[in-house]
């Protein structure tokens, strides 16, 4: 009986593959052979007859933001450029829900909706390259990624796990850089920032982009040197040092996108060197270097089978070497954690996008991931081997139905992990527009299997699972302004949390944590001028992670419950001069800190902080497309410390102090 079933299955597979690819290739052949000359013969037709002309494939199936089953924030190139943002911290500070905190070794990263999201809970994509490293799932921020390269940032506030995988547990930050058409020639940007007597940051970007008929290329390069802060840090023993010269953040990056027709090759490489003296329990006597490096490449082909059907096979490879630290012996004695491990990910898959009818579209995909970790220091993994691997296979399906009642989206992701077995992740969304109102009701789950270092430190670790429900309403007030409001409730079951037991790094499954809250955004935009305001609130919900707990059950360590932001841009004084002030106010938070007056290290209320930035841009200075920017960030020189996001033994890492910035940007069309 089993043999009979297996035989039937094999016949079905062969039939399906053969028939599918035959159909695809038959169409592809016809498409390729088509005459691409301009159809002058149509120019004499009256409009009535033009309306009967059949169109070829190629129209992109674009879903309007209002129909996307997610809470979306878009940050455009101009908003980033006008604001004087130095890095992703400055940009995301203006997005509801995001806060920033610290881990160890001077590393700063993000929290979202009241939860420390750094450990693989928010996915960061740079032109499709996954920036979360696959050993721990973390991503490090601070003068690392060049915001001058960005065309737009699409932030999906809420889980995107069905489409984007395990790291998209709480949110997805999808960064889209300038393509060949956006660049259309050369572009160069030079930034310089002075923080007190210390170099804040200086960087150089060189980009080139061009399209020739079927070919297009965009090549972007970036080199940056900077410091985390010029303020003073106290360790848990009260020893202090100034971050000037001790908190270097140097980054180099190359981003290439080469396309021929629908064949696309992408290459990304980033080297990030940091300097820190943030030892395990006390300051290290000399600054030491940590490296976080990544190189990745992808090859994809978008085959337009018909105007309604696209098929996209892809191949992706990534090699990452995060947390690399090889210290001199005297430092090893103080910090004790040299580290040199590499992780690679090979990914092969394909996706279909199919508009089955005018009201029904289907997205399906299959993917195979192979992960491999190798170690030099420490020399062995838990199983006494120098390399370990695992794999997962993924199938996803999503159907979108557009109807007069509402638009419905239902998605399902199937994961089969070679260690943790199989799991199903569902999502469902309902979107509806009524005149100037837009409504979204969303439910989504997320599933994240443990990464290498999660199970390397604890063989009993299990996947964490998240469920999220949210509702959004958007009111378009008039042509230039709108207001949006959303509420959310998220629960994480078996969260995978880093802690330190008996001087050993270990990951544990705690029982659960979660948050509930709301976000409010208002946007007014007219003739290049805008005013964007936001307020976000989150409260801890059913948290049972003791190292996240504070005396207030509604507030987790290192998190501000309230955030209020303003970002504006206005023409002033004379032509082409723009003034862009921005404000971020974050309410008080709780975290461990050294009290230098009472000489005690304990969990205290860290006061609310107001960050005020003023930035000016003079466009077309001297000649066309030469822009000059200048301004001051953190005008009030507020002491914004990145609190350690769990109850441990580090004081807050000092944030950027007052910094005077200048930027020159020049674009040359070729």
């Amino acid at each position: 009986m089993n043999n009979f079933k297996k035989k039937n299955n094999i016949i079905l597979i062969i039939f399906s593959i053969f028939f599918t690819f035959y159909s695809i290739l038959s169409n592809a052949d016809r498409i390729e052979n088509k005459n691409q000359e301009f159809p002058m013969e149509l120019s004499d037709l009256p409009i009535e007859e033009l309306m009967n002309v059949s169109l070829e494939v190629g129209t992109k199936n674009s879903t309007l933001f209002k129909d996307i089953p997610g809470i979306i924030t878009i940050i455009g190139e101009k908003e980033i450029k006008n604001s004087g943002a130095r890095d992703l911290i400055d940009v995301l500070m203006q997005v509801p829900g995001f806060t920033f905190a610290s881990d160890v070794e001077g590393v700063v990263s993000l929290g979202f909706r009241g939860i420390w999201a750094y450990e693989g809970k928010v996915l960061l994509l740079w032109n499709g390259h996954e920036l979360n490293e696959a050993l721990y799932g973390t991503v490090q921020l601070g003068r690392r990624y060049p915001v001058d390269h960005i065309n737009r940032i699409e932030v999906m506030r809420g889980p995107g796990s069905v489409i984007y995988g395990g790291f998209a547990e709480l949110a997805v930050i999808n960064i889209v850089t300038k393509n060949a058409d956006d660049l259309n020639g050369l572009e160069t940007t030079v930034n310089y920032g002075q923080m007190g007597n210390t170099l804040g940051g200086r960087n150089l970007s060189l980009s080139y982009g061009k399209r020739w008929d079927d070919w297009s290329i965009s090549l972007q390069t970036f080199y940056s040197q900077g410091q985390r802060s010029n303020q003073t840090y106290f360790d848990s023993n009260g020893d202090s040092y100034n971050f000037s010269g001790n908190s270097r953040l140097n980054s180099g990056l190359i981003n290439l996108d080469l396309s021929y027709k629908d064949l696309d090759f992408k290459l990304f490489s980033n080297i990030y060197h940091t300097l820190e003296r943030d030892g395990v329990s006390k300051n290290i006597s000399v600054p030491v270097q940590n490296d976080f490096n990544q190189t990745s490449a992808s090859l994809s082909y978008r085959l337009k089978i018909s105007k309604d059907l696209q098929f996209k096979p892809y191949l992706y490879y990534s090699s990452q070497a995060p947390w690399r630290a090889t210290y001199p012996d005297e430092v090893n004695e103080q910090s004790g954690i040299p580290y040199d491990r590499t992780v690679s990910r090979t990914n092969f898959g394909a996706e279909f996008n199919w508009n089955l009818t005018s009201f029904l579209s289907w997205t399906a995909g299959a993917e195979l991931n192979q992960y491999l970790a190798t170690t030099k220091i420490p020399e062995r993994f838990y199983n006494n081997l120098s390399n370990i691997s695992y794999s997962d296979t993924i199938l996803l399906n999503q159907i979108m139905i557009q109807s007069s009642i509402a638009n419905f989206t239902v998605g399902l992701r199937y994961i089969n992990n070679s260690i943790y077995g199989s799991n199903l992740v569902p999502r469902a969304g309902l979107t509806k527009s009524i005149e100037s109102w837009n409504f979204k009701l969303l439910y989504s789950n997320a599933y994240r299997a443990p990464t290498f270092e999660n199970f390397n430190t604890n063989l009993n670790i299990q996947p964490e699972k998240t469920s999220n429900i949210e509702f959004e309403v958007i009111k378009n007030i008039n042509k230039i302004s709108n207001i949006s409001f959303n509420i959310f409730k998220l629960n994480i079951k078996d969260p995978i949390i880093y802690t330190n037991l008996n001087d050993q790094d270990v990951y544990l499954n705690y029982k659960k944590t979660g948050s509930i809250g709301f976000e409010l955004q208002h946007r007014v935009q007219s003739k290049g001028q805008y005013l964007l305001t936001s307020y976000s609130f989150s409260s801890a919900l059913k948290n049972e992670v003791d190292i996240y707990s504070t005396s207030d059950p509604t507030q987790l360590v290192g998190v501000s419950k309230h955030k209020f932001t303003i970002l504006a841009n206005q023409k002033i004084l004379w032509e082409n001069l723009f003034f862009s002030p921005s404000i971020a106010w974050l309410s008080s938070k709780k975290g461990n800190s050294w009290d230098n007056q009472n000489k005690v290290f304990s969990m205290v209320d860290q006061p609310a902080v107001l960050l005020v930035n003023l930035y000016f841009t003079q466009k077309d200075i001297v000649f066309k497309d030469l822009d000059l920017g200048f301004g001051v960030m953190n005008l009030l020189d507020s002491q914004y410390g990145y609190t350690q996001a769990y109850n441990a033994i580090h004081s807050p890492i000092p944030g950027y102090g007052r910094e005077y910035l200048t930027r020159i940007n020049y674009s040359l069309s070729l």
Binding site: I17, T20, N184, L395, I419, K527
Partner: protein, 191 residues
């Protein structure tokens, strides 16, 4: 724990989910493309550019900027090349046609028709504000743009090019649209 690629690949294709998916996919494919037939088909940009070049036959301009009939494409678009081809030896309302690209909407001037690509959704309100009162016909091919104030918006329906007209927006800028064109269009926006 360690598995080689071949064994995982086999596992993938022997997964029941994959079987069901492939089976359904091939069945629908068979129904959906019974003959796999392609007749005479044209790039949407080419048909759209011809359409745009004919709009002046149905829409009345009361004033002009410059000596040429100026079409501006906001940002890079495949449409630019098609418009340039159709305009090479063509005159609109007796004037030579100029097609050019402008990357920044704040730098739009001397314009009779403005083409707004679909990726401008985040700035659409600002773009429309910029051209308001300048007697510029706005044209796009993006779902929902006509409702947002673009005067002529193209869309695809059953493999054919269709268009909608926001008559209120067109009239507000002083355009008179012929009844012949209105009969063919889907009208959006209440007057």
């Amino acid at each position: 724990m360690k598995r080689d690629l071949v064994s995982i690949f086999c596992q993938l294709f022997l997964t029941r989910w994959m079987l069901i998916q492939l089976g359904v996919f091939s069945l629908i494919f068979k129904i959906y493309f019974p003959g796999l037939a392609f007749g005479s088909e044209y790039l949407i940009e080419d048909v759209e550019s011809i359409f745009i070049s004919k709009l002046s036959e149905y829409i009345n301009w009361s004033t002009f900027y410059g000596s040429d009939f100026n079409i501006i494409v906001l940002g890079q678009s495949k449409l630019t090349k098609s418009l340039q081809k159709i305009s090479e030896n063509k005159k609109i309302l007796g004037k030579k046609v100029s097609v050019r690209t402008v990357l920044d909407h704040e730098k739009i001037n001397n314009c009779n028709i403005l083409i707004i690509p679909e990726n401008k959704v985040e700035n659409l309100g600002s773009i429309l504000q910029q051209v308001e009162g300048h007697h510029i016909l706005t044209v796009s091919r993006s779902e929902g743009y006509a409702e947002k104030g673009v005067m002529v918006n193209f869309y695809e329906e059953s493999g054919k090019l269709r268009f909608e007209i926001n008559l209120k927006a067109a009239k507000a800028e002083g355009f008179q649209v012929s009844s012949q064109l209105l009969k063919l269009a889907r009208i959006v926006g209440s007057e």
